[in-house]
């Protein structure tokens, strides 16, 4: 990206520093990821106040797919744009940390401490394990 002259301090110069193509790639992927996540949450039945299965599903699936993608990418010649779109955009948006965090608060305040604890454990340990699993599988595929 061409650097702007050091004398320009106007707000307009800020926008010249934004990588619009990258932003577009992430946003485009994000749209798909969010739509997919919404689809899953509608498909996985989660009655009010119950165990947040839908969020768990998207977070674990997304973690696995990200491990898989990054491992595959290291074998193929894919550019930054592809990473921005698929890894940050689609999968980054498909998974959700805010819903996860709030679910923990919800379960805890409802007195469901065992549910809250197991939700955290399965999400985090499962997520880490699945990133590694996806990574191993991705590296193993020709």
């Amino acid at each position: 990206m061409a650097p702007s002259p050091p004398s320009s301090r106007s707000s307009a110069s800020v926008f010249r520093h934004i990588d619009w193509a990258a932003l577009g790639a992430v946003a485009g992927g994000g749209l798909i990821g969010s739509a997919a996540r919404t689809g899953v949450t509608m498909w996985v039945p989660t009655p009010q106040g119950s165990f947040p299965t839908a969020v768990l599903v998207v977070n674990l699936t997304g973690s696995f797919l990200l491990g898989l993608y990054v491992a595959r990418r290291e074998r193929a010649i894919t550019g930054r744009r592809s990473l921005q779109f698929w890894a940050i955009g689609v999968l980054g948006s498909f998974t959700t940390f805010s819903a996860f965090g709030f679910d923990v608060v919800r379960l805890t305040t409802a007195g469901r401490l065992l549910a809250a604890g197991s939700y955290v454990a399965v999400s985090v340990l499962g997520g880490l394990a699945l990133v590694l699993a996806g990574s191993r599988i991705g590296a193993a595929i020709k």
Binding site: G30, G33, S34, R37, T38, V58, N59, G62, S63, L65, L66, G67, V70, A87, I88, L91, G92, S93, F94, T95, T96, F97, S98, A99, F100, G101, F102, V104, V105, V120, S123, V124, G127, L128, L130, V131, L132, S135
Partner: protein, 85 residues
């Protein structure tokens, strides 16, 4: 790898935002669904996971990334909820 502060920041702010939104108890309008959906898309669980892995096995920074996000995220959601509830 640099410490993933960017992810931490978006996740903490997103969790705070969702806490504020749900705490306010606004009815399930299109606006609340949009904002909730935005916050869910804004935050990311998968990136947090892979960045933790990439900080290295048995590394203090990986543990830090894990605990800061987890404790910070839940705290942020709780604070947000308490503020508007």
């Amino acid at each position: 790898m640099d410490f993933p502060t960017g992810t931490l920041i978006v996740n903490l702010f997103g969790a705070l935002g969702l806490g504020l939104l749900v705490g306010a108890g606004t009815p399930q309008s299109t606006l609340t669904l949009t904002v909730a959906g935005f916050l869910s898309g804004f935050t990311t669980f998968s990136t947090w996971m892979i960045e933790t892995i990439r900080l290295g096995p048995r590394s203090l920074r990986a543990l830090l990334n894990l605990t800061l996000s987890l404790v910070g995220g839940v705290a942020a959601a709780a604070i947000g909820f308490t503020l508007t509830n």
